[in-house]
Symmetry: C2
Subunit: 431 residues, 2 copies
């Protein structure tokens, strides 16, 4: 008997086949037993009629526990009412490994229980849908840059120096070379890459040992960071909005079924099309004031502020030209007003906050040296980075997109912990 | 004037355009100055005729230093003898940032000097070619699994327990939860993924704090690990050989120019087609004996042994069924001879050694518990992993491919340090 996957059923209508998978659900109505099987590619309802199968098979179909692994055989039938559009008129049922008392039942469980059992929770239709959408987003991100002639540049994870203070870094002993740190961003390395390859992107895990216990923070998360030589802040914003449109529209086009499983209202996602609104920090502060927020001019925007600002728009909004004081040392100042950095944050709608942060980089050696001193950074550790300004410096820009926040937003998740297979939070590093 | 990239020149023959890039090389022959420009997308020879440009431009073209960033304007001409097939009949030359005394010159430099200047060394045509081939390999790896219906599953980097002893692990303090470790492999997590999604792959950085100072070892390297439910060792070998064929043939098809820059003799790569030879450990030992190697039966194969074995074949060779004693605890024993593990290593030709290691996994709960005890592993840390055998266990298999060894092999590199943008070695974690 031909062994196939559930998502291949359409090619086998009217034929007898075998499916290997796990018992996801079952119900019974007297002379008929229904087993819903999952195999990772989809779900299939297998129908066991009492008269069609041996008494042993009929009894097994009745007794078998949730998540038992099985091999079923039967005739493929079209059935528009069934999930996926097909049904199996089942004849055989082999148990591969019987499961008893599977811990996750259809009843409600607490989140900590589910996170403790994350290795099993992943099997639920909701988690499968999220992981498939995450995969599609990752592929869309890579396809976008690959199709535009960017070169992938994997930056190092273990880095020798603390760029922005050691308090939010994970530390490790590196043989006889002293302490080393897990990277918070591959950007500085991406800049070296852009000078070699013109247009590059990084895409890998990054780390923040921040004691933030919010629903937006992970200690370990994936970030994609494009960096482009000969690009200014406007080019950067053009790239960011085209990028977001591509990701969201691709997911809407390809992942309709999974979004349905998540009961995601996609009306706001449909709007993610260019041009995205662009407002300055000053305009953002005006919005806060109009909404009665007591906001001190010059501060960075907090999560609550971001939500109020993004609520004014029907799609992601770009906020540019922040006070240089609250931004990183490597950002270029606005030549029209040195108080501002040529930075941009993209805020997602529906309260999902900053999903992209970017800037034009300081390309002047003297200014950059000055900033390193102002920020009290160890110049020696940055000599290689300064070399990029000594030898053929050019205007260049880039941004970073947080993968898990993007997945959370597109999937409409309450908490970022569901957006990654095994989340790392300040109070959890298991399983 | 339209700004374009060098790899777009074919569309602009006979037109005036502007290119932004860096001075890669220059030469002079009296009334003509030649500047070779690079912009990351390619190389372009710009020809300055004394009579065609202002005296200032002509003088600039003469004096400008290597790696200065410039903007050149001119007329695109077909020129079969030029690298890339085009030439610029140049009229303008703007210096964006002049570079003096660029440290890397066409003369020979020592490797440590080049590694100290890795951020600049990346700009050489050789390093650019390697990075582009690396990118193409990464894309081929992802495309292969995406097209086969695998779901990407990013495993955690920070892991709570030491699977195979702490001596080769990088350690970090994880808030109040004690010590945590950088992952050596995502496999155990991929197994949880395979039970949820049927077919998954991981692809991310992994870490070994080994004190190995060989040309094959990095402390930080990328690994791709597919894992398939309902697959045995034969299925695993089928997948591995199809995978390798796809990667190598894709690179040969798409990256001919880059392989030429590397002066790679591709005759052995052309052979990487299915079926790959499959020999047992016992047969491998026979080969060693015939070649006069003093090898103690039962030991693992060393790097030198692998080279002798792979030299007998014209393409990668699969060695399967190793003594269980020298392999990991999670590998299933061969039911036909319990002394052997259902493991497979794929050895690359030309002395590049093991590029793939895989196995069928132990799917029996009792046997696995026994192995955990035999290996003196803390059972509690593996309870979640044991759950995969408690609830719907199925036969399953997978393997890991080391990205940097694969890049080294395909590019024909002497040392794995050139296969990754910023290599981490026991004596180097900078820049």
């Amino acid at each position: 008997m031909k062994k196939i996957y559930i998502n291949e059923l359409a090619e086998y209508v009217g034929k007898e086949i075998t499916i290997q998978g796990w018992v996801y659900n079952k119900r019974s109505s007297g002379k008929v037993k229904f087993l819903v099987l999952r195999d990772g590619s989809g779900y299939l309802q297998c129908v066991y009629f009492k008269g069609n199968v041996t008494p042993e098979v009929f009894e097994t179909a009745d007794k078998i526990g949730q998540e038992s692994s099985v091999e079923v055989t039967g005739l493929v039938k079209e059935e528009p009412r069934a999930p996926g559009g097909f049904e199996l008129d089942a004849t055989g049922l082999n148990i591969i490994s019987e499961a008893h008392d599977y811990p996750i039942t259809p009843k409600e469980h607490g989140v900590e229980f589910l996170m403790d059992n994350r290795h099993l929770w992943l099997r639920s239709s909701r988690q499968v849908a999220i992981l498939k959408i995450r995969h599609r987003i990752v592929k869309a991100i890579r396809d976008f840059f690959d199709n535009k002639g960017f070169t992938l540049m994997d930056p190092p994870i273990i880095t020798p120096a603390a760029c922005e203070g050691t308090s939010t870094l994970f530390e490790t002993q590196y043989f006889d070379l002293g302490k080393a740190y897990l990277t918070q961003s591959g950007q500085l390395y991406a800049e070296a890459g852009a000078m070699a390859l013109g247009k590059v992107y990084t895409f890998g895990p990054t780390f923040r040992a921040e004691k933030s216990k919010t629903r937006r923070h992970l200690t370990e998360f994936w970030m994609c960071e494009p960096e482009v030589a000969f690009a200014d802040l406007n080019d950067d914003m053009d790239l960011a909005e085209e990028f977001l449109e591509y990701i969201v529209q691709t997911v809407l086009k390809d992942m309709g079924e999974e979004l349905k499983v998540l009961e995601r209202d996609t009306s706001m996602l449909q709007n993610v099309k260019r041009p995205l609104p662009r407002i300055s920090y000053d305009e953002a502060v005006e919005i806060l004031k109009k909404n009665g927020v007591e906001f001190e001019y010059g501060n960075d925007l907090g999560g609550g502020d971001e939500t109020i600002i993004s609520n004014q728009f029907d799609r992601p909004v770009m906020v540019h030209r922040y006070p240089a004081e609250v931004k990183a040392f490597y950002m270029k100042r606005d030549p029209e007003n040195e108080k501002f950095a040529l930075a941009v944050d993209v805020l997602a709608p529906e309260g999902y906050g900053e999903i992209i942060g970017g800037s034009q980089r300081e390309d002047n050696l003297d200014y950059l040296l000055q900033r390193i001193k102002q920020h009290d950074l160890p110049q020696e550790a940055f000599e290689w980075y300064l070399d990029l300004r000594r030898f053929g410096s050019v205007p260049h820009s880039g941004f970073g997109l947080g993968l898990e926040r993007t997945v959370s937003w597109i999937c409409g998740l309450d908490h970022v912990r569901e957006s990654i297979p095994f989340a790392r939070l300040i109070y959890r590093n298991t399983p």
